[in-house]
């Protein structure tokens, strides 16, 4: 029983990591209708920037805020500079540019900060909640931050004019232009926000897994799995999906003998496929019915 609790709570902890990334993924998807493969690497780069600022002596929260702003600006700039010229190019070309960005960010991170793991400080107190040994304070704090971010994003998209304009620009650029939405800048805004969300994710994740340029490599797939399971159109669903992936992964690895730890990734694959077969829009996504 104790083991079960441990693994579930542990799963929630790693699930929190996936949920963070899943949120960033859904964010960008809502904004630009594409998956950005470079999301993880951009988040890692942002985290390195934050780490560097703290290393130079800056206060944690100041560094945090500054990094968010820098990431936002970087996201906007990337969209305007790199993607504007190829707006009319086929979708696949966009994918190639995502891949290119992945390579560039990964390589530059490694070049500037090398590959030794670095310790990222945690803003949360060290003493675990109620002195328990199951789940640390940072993991708990991270879950809270994720939920807060989720609420902010939800509110933004649902209740603000700009959020509505962004969704319109992504869903139907032509109609949006007709009603006066500046589609180009909406896309840029979306990129900026996604970069900022990713940065928060990275800063939250790094204290748990240690910071190095390849930090997000494995997490990316699990984050995608979480987003898909929860539903790409639903930020809340993505977060729930992330937690689910974390818990299921741990439970299957522990209690199903022939899977063990050797096939955990395959389990993630299977999860994705099963959910997509049974309910393609994800558990909480909006089901789109197209009529002929």
């Amino acid at each position: 029983m104790d083991l079960l609790i441990q693994q579930v709570l542990g799963g929630l902890a790693t699930g929190g990591i996936y949920a963070c990334l899943a949120l960033a993924v859904v964010m960008i998807y809502q904004a630009i209708d594409h998956f950005n493969f470079a999301q993880g690497e951009m988040a890692t780069f942002s985290t390195f920037v934050c780490w560097q600022l703290i290393f130079w002596g800056m206060d944690y929260w100041l560094a945090f805020a500054l990094t968010l702003i820098l990431s936002f600006v970087a996201g906007v700039v990337i969209e305007r500079v790199v993607f504007k010229p190829i707006h009319d190019a086929p979708v696949m070309s966009h994918v190639i540019v995502f891949i290119a960005l992945f390579s560039v960010f990964n390589s530059v991170s490694g070049f500037i900060w090398d590959f030794t793991i670095k310790e990222m400080p945690s803003p949360f107190p060290k003493e675990p909640l109620f002195g328990n040994t199951y789940i640390g304070m940072h993991e708990t704090g991270m879950v809270f931050v994720t939920v807060i971010m989720l609420c902010l994003i939800f509110a933004f998209f649902r209740y603000t004019k700009i959020g509505l304009a962004m969704r319109a620009a992504a869903a139907n650029p032509d109609s949006a232009r007709l009603v006066g939405v500046n589609v180009g800048w909406m896309l840029a805004l979306g990129w900026g926000l996604a970069a900022a969300v990713g940065a928060v994710g990275g800063i939250m994740i790094a204290p748990m897994v240690f910071l190095d340029p390849n930090m997000m490599l494995g997490i990316l797939l699990y984050g995608f799995a979480g987003a898909v399971v929860g539903g790409l159109t639903s930020p809340g669903g993505a977060v729930v999906g992330g937690f689910m992936v974390g818990v299921i992964e741990n439970l299957m690895g522990t209690f199903v003998p022939f899977i063990g730890t050797q096939l955990k990734l395959s389990v993630a694959l299977l999860l994705i496929v099963i959910v997509l077969l049974v309910r393609p829009a994800g558990l909480f996504g909006r089901v789109v019915v197209s009529r002929v």
């Binding site: 693994q7 799963g11 790693t14 793991i117 310790e119 494995g218 955990k264």
Partner: protein, 408 residues
């Protein structure tokens, strides 16, 4: 003589002169890649990809070879070190090896890194009869002169290390229950095999849980939880720095206090111990063979002083806390010794012969008392390790230097 005959005689004389001049000038005997002025050395390292943290080794070796060149080279010849990126991908390694041997025409390959990567070229390099020296991996298969006479390992192999751990448990905790965390690849499994060799038929009884992980896993917390739940009181931590550090942290935070055995690949203080936390790493045991530059007990040792001087001059931006910077510098010294021994006979066969004739050579940067030794039947230059315990902020050696010949 007719003019024609004169021409023939002249041409013949010139040719004869040229040939003998060539032969006479060769006070050295050379194979491809060597000449009076230079020795071409090939290398592959993962400068990109998941294993890029090891590329520091390639850079260190390059820096030390520069120092040798500044001193005038070896026997008057400069070293031309050609190091290519293989991204830790076996097909790429094969491609780069072929380029080094067939296009760049190096004399031999030195310190190529990685187990699957070197496996991909193992047969090729032996077919080509090019020395494949001091490969940067601890896998046991590199010391097989009978089947692969051109390949030689360097560091104490992982099975040796595993055996040392296994013997330690047998002697100090014979009723211990062992839980193993290992990376699911050659490196991880080799350590487990080493322990198996030491424990013999007690292995199944004593090892009650094994949990593997992949490098794509974000954390190993779940595995550690399972190991504890199995009732183990010995934790055998066979993980690379990132995951070993996670493991150390989790073990401590969980309140588990096992006998903690840490593999030497992750024993470096800045790579693993410091991120995990000094206070969480007290009492951890490892078996090592190198001096950790962060360990205060070595700061004033003459070899460390020499190393720091080297770093200041040739790698000023290099990380003085990174053990791999010592590793590269150290193994480059061994290569230097082999080349010095080879003298002017720079044929591949002689290089191999000299590599197999290293007697009690003091490789700087190794723990005192550990030396390099090879012979025609012993292709494992380093076979000694010593156990250490982490106390305070450094590793404290204890016990004797253990020599585990793992050919046996």
């Amino acid at each position: 003589m007719t003019r024609f005959k004169k021409l023939i005689v002249g041409a013949t004389a010139m040719t004869a002169l040229a040939l003998t001049a060539g032969a006479a000038n060769a006070a050295g005997k050379y194979d491809e890649g060597a000449s009076d002025t230079e020795i071409k050395i090939g290398n592959t390292n993962p400068y990109s990809g998941p294993a890029s943290s090891y590329a520091v080794i390639g850079k260190s070796i390059d820096a030390y070879f520069k120092e040798i060149n500044d001193r005038g080279g070896i026997n008057g010849r400069k070293l031309n070190f050609i190091s290519l990126d293989d991204g830790y991908s076996p097909p790429k390694t094969k491609e780069q090896f072929r380029r080094l041997v067939e296009k760049e025409k190096v004399l031999f390959i030195f310190q190529s890194l990685g187990t699957p990567t070197n496996s991909a070229v193992h047969k090729y390099i032996n077919r080509k009869k090019v020395p494949h020296l001091f490969v940067a991996t601890g896998a046991t298969k590199w010391g097989d002169p009978e089947n692969y006479p051109w390949t030689m390992g360097y560091q104490p192999n992982y099975q040796t290390a595993g055996k040392i751990f296994g013997n330690y448990v047998l002697q100090n905790k014979p009723k211990g229950k062992i839980g193993i965390l290992y990376q699911n690849d050659d490196y991880g499994k080799d350590y487990v095999i080493g322990m198996q060799l030491a424990l013999g038929d007690k292995f199944d009884k004593m090892v009650i849980a094994q949990q593997s992980y992949e490098t794509t896993d974000p954390t190993v917390d779940s595995q550690v939880v399972n190991l504890r739940a199995s009732g183990a009181d010995v934790f055998y931590n066979v993980a690379i720095p990132k995951f070993a550090a996670q493991g150390i942290k989790k073990v401590h935070d969980m309140g588990w206090k096992p006998l903690h055995l840490l593999n030497d690949v992750s024993a470096s203080i800045p790579s693993t111990i410091k991120p995990a936390g000094f206070e969480k790493s007290q009492g951890i045991l490892t078996a090592g063979y190198m001096m950790d530059p962060n360990d205060p007990q070595w700061t004033d040792h003459e070899e460390m002083v020499a190393w720091r001087a080297f770093m200041a001059k040739y790698q000023p931006k290099g990380d003085l806390s990174n053990l791999n910077n010592v590793y590269g510098w150290a193994v480059a010294h061994l290569m230097e010794q082999v080349l010095i021994q080879a003298g002017d006979d720079l044929t591949r066969a002689n290089i191999m012969k000299q590599a197999a004739s290293v007697k009690d050579f003091r490789v700087p940067g190794l723990l005192p008392g550990i030396n390099a030794n090879t012979s025609a039947t012993d292709f494992y230059p380093l076979e000694q390790m010593q156990m250490q315990r982490f106390e305070g902020e450094g590793w404290v050696r204890f016990g004797e230097i253990i020599s585990a010949g793992s050919g046996s």
